[in-house]
Amino acid sequence: MEIKIALAGNPNSGKTTLFNALTGSRQYVGNWPGVTVEKKEGRLKGYDDVIIQDLPGIYSLSPYTLEEVVSRSYLVNEKPDAILNIVDGTNIERNLYLTTQLIEIGIPVVVAVNMIDLVRRNGDEIDLAALSEKLGCRVVEISALKNEGSQEAAKLAVEAAQQKRAGEMPRVFNGPVEHAIAHIEESLQDQVPATNLRWYAVKVFERDEKILSELRLDAATAADIEQHIVDCEKQLDDDAESIITNQRYAYIASVVEKGVKKKAAKHALSASDKIDQIVTSRVLGLPIFAVVMFLIYAIAMGGWSISIGTAATDFTNDVIFGEWVPGLFDTILGAVGVTEGSVLYGLIQDGIVAGVGAVLGFVPQMLVLFLLLAILEDIGYMARVAFVMDRIFRHFGLSGKSFIPMLVATGCGIPGIMASRTIEQDRDRKMTVMTTTFMPCGAKMPIIGLIAGALFNESAWVAASAYFIGMASIIISGIMLKKFKMFAGEPSPFVMELPSYHVPSVGNVLRATWERGWSFIKRAGSVILVSSIIIWFLSSFGTVNGQFGMVDNLWEDESVATEEYVESVAARMGISADEAAPMDDSILAGIGNTISPIFKPLGFGSWKPTVATITGLVAKEEVVGTFGVLYNYDDQGGEDELGENGEQLWDRVAEDFSPIAAFAFMVFNLLCAPCFAAMGAIKREMNNAKWTLGAIGYMCLWAYVCAFITYNVAGVAVGQVAFGPGTVIGIALIALIIYLLVRRGYVPEEGTKAVTSVAAAAAAAN
């Protein structure tokens, strides 16, 4: 018989460390059904039949966050055999709040008081026997970080599960409250399982909407119960929920008084507080933050000698996916008789290896970025970042918690979009998902490099302007969208616990890095694989002189690609016969030609940049690779391999583009729909087809407007484009944006409630 033990506790109580210590590498990470909350389970070391279910870190079992909802429905409906409740010994009063709720569920509970080493160092004493007696369950002390007592605590939980009997419930409530709850219990006892009776009764007393709709009480019972609640509220002159909260804290105070002896005077400034006085101060907060961010950027993505991430990614791109893997596949394909030029060879080498390799090349850089962010998170600095940035973000309608997704998105949009999960309010979360990929990610760097090199003398201002455009887009979008009804309202008030600073644990940091890296590889890998194959097919196949097939092979056959035919292709494409290439006949070129007029007003309405933009949807760095193919750069014919920023193409690109058109092209590609993998992530987080389309549509529209203004208005300003109707429309668009920014937006009625992520998830499920 398998035993299931649920691991529950407050955020920052050391739950992840304990879970890792108990299960080692035998973990499975997934999602709770229907919501984007991470679900982790693992097998207890030394017990093959014991599964530890890690619940999200929660402060209580109220229904206000998605984490709380999944936790309580798991505990009540799935009925694990025991609950191992981890409690932060240095903050025992607050942590026991959840404990009292867990005990009410009626499942055997074992309480593990964590950070006992810190408790001792503070000179405090915790009387385990007294706590155990008051709470009616086993209480042990552990230090998860030092792996002291963790296994014993798990063993006790297994024993408790085998005995299948919860201890006697502590008497948390008293007076009229206990009276009312006892009465509710009586009314409910035929409807709910006997073990959960107290839990349901307390929740009904609190008028918990989710529980009430689940129970569907008949009108008479409901009215009778309501009368008891109202009587109690009148007697105590408070609302039911507050009554319960207050009595819980009063009970906990009595438990702590008996079980905990505090030595240090309360309210002394700890070392952590002193650090906070500097790190979050008005004067130094932002500069310190800027320095930290610069260091992360320098190490993960910069082009200096300390930039480990860039070096690793260059190596992966140039050597592993540039030589080793294609070489290996060459050997394998040669051995099984697949020759170069055949369809299968093209599919594998040019389609799959080149496409997937392009994305996997970013993995080392991502891992370095994730590692640095995991360290900052483990130290406790990330919570401070959100706090410091909240002051600024609030001005344009976002909460400070939106900053972390945007920060991560400078590396890669996919984890950036996923990082939006920590935002409680649904509309803030959606807005963050919609705008976060405006930040130039690592894969957009080669586009910037190509344009800067080809037309702007490699000026560093191009890259700087790209970041500026990204950030300005987020800010302007934030302010504009906030004025529409669906996003209107203040960002949720900022309330966030700041964990004490501590030295990061190597195990936790590495594990967090790997988990994020792996989910990046999985997501990118699967989406990119499919889209690479499609793009490869579209660019390799086409009709040459009436014959359909692989264009490369058909062109080599001079009876098909006759001289007159080549000249006709060249004439159609507006190039000389020498420049005509097989790809000009591909399906993709046909698509490019058909839709390129859309981009005419942006200054780059020829088929080459159009096709490059389409391939950019697979992965943004493909844009440069596509230019390589379209501008006939042949890296096999004696020339050097195409550089990362397409250095060898610069002259050819420069002939085709005016600087302002190239800049407009860059603006469009930076801001338009992200790659397919990121769109997949958006769909997952939105959990709704309409919102996904809306988000992607908004990005494309915004990109189009910005590129339009760049070409038609900025172009006239710098004297590269003649004044024309486009300029007038461009100026009108600027006026429209300014209007949308300053207009008095929709003001929600006083008292309307903001939709929380919980309500949104419930609505999506129905």
């Binding site: 402060y59 209580s60 109220s62 206000y64 240095t90 903050n91 025992i92 009063e93 607050r94 709040y97 609302d239 929920e241 507050s242 909260t245 207050n246 804290y249 309360k266 309210h267 400034l269 952590s272 507080d273 906070d276 006085q277 979050t280 101060s281 008005r282 907060g285 919570a383 401070r384 959100a386 706090f387 410091v388 909240d390 002051r391 609030r394 203040e490 949720s492 008030p493 900022f494 309330v495 966030m496 616990e497 700041l498 964990p499 004490s500 409630k753 929380t756």
Partner: protein, 70 residues
């Protein structure tokens, strides 16, 4: 009674009242913000506060701090 945002940093206070009735108030309660509980402002940045309540540090923005009366 005065709002927490006006309290002197470093001085121990007692929560007298939490105004408003919504989900945020319940969330505050779960974090330890309840009437009669001790509270101290650790630092203040442009109206946003870091406070100590029940042995933990919690960051609050100004709107939130204005709802807590000490």
């Amino acid at each position: 009674m005065l709002p927490l945002s006006m309290a002197t940093p470093g001085e121990k206070q007692t929560i007298r009242k939490i105004t408003g009735k919504d989900e945020v108030r319940q969330h505050l309660a779960e974090l330890g913000f309840v009437v009669d509980s001790d509270i101290m402002v650790v630092s203040e940045v442009g109206g946003n506060l870091i406070v100590q309540v029940k042995d933990s540090r919690v960051a609050l923005n100004r709107d939130m701090a204005n709802r807590i009366m000490v």
